[in-house]
């Protein structure tokens, strides 16, 4: 609860930030491609990590419940993990193609 209140305090501080201190447009253009590339990689990594964790947890639970189904579950888990990893790689490739 205390952590949540800190998060809300930080968010409210950001909402009341003084616009007068913001950097002017004349000082230089912002490289939005690089910023969005960083965010997209972070989001892709986080979601792929969550997906891998969910797949592994489900496979471990299935193996514990039915050890006889091990070959099928193991194959599905390996293929699933490889394909989930490739999704993060797609994002990395797009970032390298866009950010130069």
């Amino acid at each position: 609860m205390r952590k949540l209140s800190y998060v809300f305090m930080a968010l409210s501080a950001m909402c009341f930030a003084v616009p007068a201190f913001a950097q002017g447009a004349a000082a230089g253009t912002t490289n939005w491609v690089a910023i969005t590339a960083g965010f997209s990689m972070a989001i892709a990594s986080a979601v792929c990590g969550l997906a891998q964790a969910k797949a592994t947890a489900a496979a471990a639970e299935g193996l514990a419940r039915n050890p006889a189904a091990r070959p099928g579950i193991q194959l599905a888990l390996i293929l699933g993990l490889a394909l989930i990893e490739s999704l993060a790689l797609y994002t990395l490739v797009i970032i390298f193609a866009k950010v130069k």
């Binding site: 592994t56 193996l63 514990a64 050890p67 490889a82 394909l83 790689l89």
Partner: protein, 147 residues
Amino acid sequence: MEPETANSLEEPAGAAESFYSRALPRISRFMFAVSVIGSAAAWVVYGWRVAAGFACGAAIAYLNFHWLKRAVNALADAVTQTGQRQSSKGIVLRFLLRYVLMGLGAYVILTVSPASLSGLFAGLFVPVGAIACEAAYEVYVTVARGL
């Protein structure tokens, strides 16, 4: 009459089980084939630098896939309490080491020859191509043999 029916049902099921249990070795062979064909095609179309990058990416992807199989095997051993007992810390460390080695390989290629980076990225997708080949082969076998 009954045993014959049971046998006739068991035979295709056994054949299907044996066919699908060989999927992982088949994917490894498909990966090798895709690597060789892709490297040759990259050499012809884009030159040797991109082909070398593709070969390096394919080698990293092959190693990554092999270690992934080992990590999953160790995890299954730990869950079902069979095979050789391994520490969970070792399994997790090996799982994370794959990313470190992949990043190291990409960094080395980036510093040595930036031109072959696109080939490296293409090579990292060799497992996806191999899995797609395996899926197509399984569809073909299912339709042709009715497994």
